[in-house]
């Protein structure tokens, strides 16, 4: 794929076009709808077989867990949380980038988001689905999850409203619901376009039902756009609250290494960081596979790399503050934990995490790195690794050296732990692959709105912009 180059001389006074090559509106529809209208190629089935295998591994590991109990895992007191909650925090963090791109960038009128918003939102939903599984799984007997909901029971006791675990359930389920609605509302016009494009009767029926009979009427667009802004305005504080509440699961406890006030912003920054890493990983693959390079341009990847660099430095700041506060507070237990993280049994993981999250993203200072797809792809993978390790280090190192030396215990994951982790990746990528065949991966109606000449030139009293 040859990238459209702007030449050696860069004109900084004029923003590059959001969609390259000035395609017609019909071409945009054609290229976005193509994956849904053609039979999938061999590569797709190869990819799907790999992800389904991963999903199967996860299913087997889960069946073992549910039959024999969570004794199949490496968890043991005091390390009561390990892979399960690590995976939960990791996946929910992945989801946050989607909301950031679709909602926060929308509110800031960053119109380059249109090309990647749909995909990022879909990733949010799939990631939250993966994340939502882990609190259920880590119970070992998942049907007991019913006790966390405020339903009347025969013993008469209600749930503990003061517990961050209860807040977590409310936050994650609200987040999933709102993300799903936001995504679906955005999909409606595109589903209507698909309804009018398709010649297959069965597909037409499905698209008709899903598009709710959308008619592209301007009287509808007017309210629709308003609702989109409102949802974006609701989703923006929501995304901040969700990861803050996830961090409360740790920060409200009194364990050294968890009991810190920096946790909410630190977790939110980490979530955005890991999410952007994952969005980059998937988008680089998608634009290659589906030839969408003129819609998801190098400029998009460049801008995402810049955001990643920014949040990487926010995460680095938190990494600096943790040992500083541990030292400054003069609490020997806190300081011991900092030393154990850097030099203890999990030191390798800690330093890999620091390398992936702090040092490697510094390469994004260089324009050449930001515009090299291969390097971007490798770095985005490393960010994923680093951010998974971050949650692992936070959870396991705080637990394995708690206040009581007699209960110290070294956690070693078992094959079942890894099986479930692999299974969650299998689930995520299976859903991504199916989504890329079944629904428009790029918001057609939004991309049409950002092509050159899409809007009549400015006039007094124009409502939008």
């Amino acid at each position: 794929m040859s990238e459209v180059s702007y030449g050696e001389v860069i004109d900084y006074t004029k923003a590059p076009p959001l969609v390259q090559g000035n395609p017609s509106l019909a071409t945009i529809d054609d290229s976005i709808a193509r994956p849904m209208e053609k039979l999938p190629n061999k590569k797709f089935f190869m990819a799907l077989s790999i992800t389904l295998t991963m999903l199967l591994i996860g299913a087997v590991a889960l069946a073992y867990t549910f039959y024999y109990g969570i004794g199949m895992w490496g968890n043991n007191i005091p390390v009561g949380w390990a892979f399960d909650i690590t995976n939960f925090v990791f996946w929910i963090g992945i989801g946050h980038a989607g909301t950031l791109i679709s909602a926060v960038l929308f509110l800031f009128r960053q119109r380059w988001r249109t090309a990647i918003a749909r995909f990022a939102e879909a990733m949010t939903i799939f990631a939250v689905m993966c994340a939502g599984l882990f609190p259920l799984i880590h119970l070992g007997r998942p049907w007991y999850a019913a006790f966390i909901f405020p339903v009347p029971t025969q013993h008469g006791v209600w749930i503990n409203w003061n517990s961050p675990l209860v807040w977590d359930v409310f936050a994650v389920s609200t987040y999933f619901t709102v993300s799903l609605m936001f995504w679906y509302i955005g999909l409606i016009p595109d589903l209507a376009t698909m309804r009018d494009r398709t010649t297959n009767k069965f597909k037409k029926m499905i698209y008709s039902v899903l598009s709710l009979g959308w008619r592209f009427s301007n009287k509808h667009w007017q309210h629709y756009e308003k609702v989109y802004v409102i949802l974006a305005g609701l989703a923006t504080p929501l995304v901040l609250s969700v990861h803050s509440i996830v961090s409360f699961d740790f920060a409200v406890s009194i364990l050294p290494g968890w009991h810190t006030t920096i946790f909410p912003p630190y977790f939110v920054a980490g979530a955005i960081f890991s999410g952007f890493g994952m969005v980059m990983t998937v988008l680089i693959l998608v634009r290659k596979i589906f030839n969408l390079e003129y819609i998801i341009t190098m400029d998009h990847l460049d801008k995402m790399a810049k955001v990643t660099l920014l949040v990487s430095m926010m995460v680095s700041y938190a990494y600096l503050m943790e040992p500083f506060i541990a030292w400054y507070s003069g609490d020997p237990v806190d300081w011991y934990l900092v030393l154990m993280r850097a030099t203890g049994h999990y030191a390798v993981g800690f330093w890999v995490m620091v390398a992936c999250n702090v040092f490697i993203p510094q390469l994004f200072w260089f324009r050449k790195v930001r515009r090299n797809v291969v390097v971007l792809f490798i770095i985005s993978l490393l960010i994923n690794v680093g951010m998974w390790l971050e949650r692992y280090i936070i959870i396991v190192t705080s637990l394995y050296r708690d206040f009581l030396p007699s209960s110290w215990h070294i956690y070693v994951p078992t094959i079942t732990d890894f099986g479930i982790l692999i299974g969650s990746f299998g689930l995520f990528f299976t859903l991504v692959l199916l989504f890329s065949r079944a629904l428009p991966v790029i918001a057609m109606s939004e991309v049409k709105g950002v092509t050159e000449g899409a809007h009549p030139s400015h006039q007094i009293g124009a409502e939008h912009e």
Binding site: L25, A26, F66, Y67, G69, R141, W143, P150, G156, W158, N160, W161, N162, W167, F170, T174, T177, V178, M181, I185, P189, T193, D196, R197, V209, L212, G213, W214, R215, F216, S217, N218, K219, H220, W221, Q222, H223, Y224, E225, K226, V227, I230, L231, L234, A235, L238, S241, S244, I245, S445, K448, G449, A454, H455, P456, Q459, G461, A462, E463, H464
Partner: protein
């Protein structure tokens, strides 16, 4: 629209006249002209929201945000009310020493409920109330016009309900404005009633079937499946229950007798049972009368001894003759009696009048009581040496 004409035996009605434009500027111009003509029932159709169209159409500002505000705040209030009722009224429970209604803990939940209620209500209101969706039986559906505006054309439809509507003049107007494929759109009268299929017996029957299947599955899940391994929730365990036999030991008992000579913690064997002279001769008080011991002795004496012996061991029973009244412990023979006698009597009782307290009072506490009795005796017959 040609296919509609072919199939329709039924009454056809005119919905309106449509026209297509290839550029948004032309649509804007056309809309401006239509408004100038005083036409009210019309709508513009665009593949994406076109800037400036709302102003041209003189649409009023969308007030759907009011739904978000009102319902969102309702969600927060309901949550607050619910947390207050559950934790303060229905089952008051003190958690972590906090007040029953510790509202700061509920702030995150209130926020989540604001967002959830606000978002769900806004989307529902948009679709159902503002846009009157889902509706797949609109006359414009499945027309060439709709297929174009969903792709790359910009359309306008002037509806027949407009008082000024006249098919010929409207067509002429749209053609004059540069509209392509100016066409009339018809619909069949029965389409007006299509939405009532929700009361179709088939649909209701399907719902009933789903309900029966769901409740059957739920019954099976909750009443049968959770008794099958591995879901039996530890109700079946590999342990020996009372009245059952153990297959592990030859004698069939699960409990093993302790090794000979085993002494349980805090249960020193007492070898002078009913042997008062032996106890008097050999038992010595093994603990020292510290402040703690004296307080322990006082507490136990007041608890176990004082009902019959009185708080001062003077035989002032509080039981008003329902039990035999014991003698005062201040008589000479008892003041001079050795500690072993007291220990023996507390442990094994006395002549069927005083019961044994072996099970109620641990060994060390018996000795603590004896120290306390000694202190009471000294207090009743003070000597100069004791008062120091």
């Amino acid at each position: 629209m040609s296919e509609m004409k072919k199939t329709s035996q039924a009454v056809r009605r005119l919905y309106g006249v449509t026209a297509l434009f290839d550029r948004p500027e032309r649509l804007l111009h056309a809309v401006g002209e239509v408004v100038k003509q005083g036409i009210k029932s019309y709508d513009a159709y665009t593949p994406y929201p076109v800037h400036g169209l709302d102003t041209k159409m003189k649409l009023k500002r969308s007030m759907i945000g009011a739904v978000t505000l009102v319902v969102g705040l309702t969600g927060a209030s309901l949550l607050l009310l619910f947390t207050w009722w559950t934790n303060s009224i229905d089952y008051p429970l003190v958690i972590g020493g906090k007040p029953l209604f510790s509202w700061p803990s509920y702030v995150p939940l209130m926020f989540e409920m604001t967002v959830l209620f606000g978002a769900v209500s806004t989307v529902t209101a948009l679709l159902v109330i503002w846009l009157n969706l889902p509706r797949n039986s609109h006359p414009l559906h499945d027309t060439d016009f709709m297929k174009k505006v969903s792709n790359d054309r910009f359309g306008i439809c002037i509806e027949a309900t407009d008082p000024q509507f006249d098919e010929r003049s409207v067509k002429a107007l749209l053609e004059k404005l540069g509209g392509a494929s100016v066409e009339a759109v018809y619909y069949e009268e029965r389409e007006l009633t299509l939405r009532e299929t929700i009361l179709d017996p088939k649909f209701i029957g399907a719902i009933v079937v789903v309900a029966v299947l769901t409740s059957g599955a739920a019954y099976f899940g909750f009443n049968k499946m959770n008794l099958i391994r591995p879901w039996n929730s530890l109700t079946v365990q590999d342990k020996v229950l009372p009245e059952t036999q153990s297959a592990f030991y030859a004698d069939g008992f699960a409990m093993r007798p302790p090794v000979k000579g085993t002494v349980a913690r805090g249960q020193m064997p007492y070898r002078y049972a009913s042997d008062i002279p032996g106890a008097e001769k050999y038992m010595k008080n093994p603990i020292l009368p510290t402040k703690h011991v004296m307080e322990l002795g006082q507490r136990d004496f007041n608890t176990y001894c004082s009902p019959c012996h009185g708080y001062f061991a003077d035989g002032q029973s509080r039981l008003q003759g329902q039990f035999p009244v014991p003698p005062s412990l201040h008589i000479d023979s008892l003041v001079t009696a050795p500690d072993g006698l007291y220990y023996e009597v507390i442990t094994n009782g006395y002549q069927g009048v005083m019961p044994s307290y072996e099970r109620q009072i641990p060994r060390d506490e018996r000795w603590a009581i004896i120290w306390y009795i000694r202190a009471l005796q000294k207090a009743q017959s003070p000597e100069v040496a004791n008062v120091k």
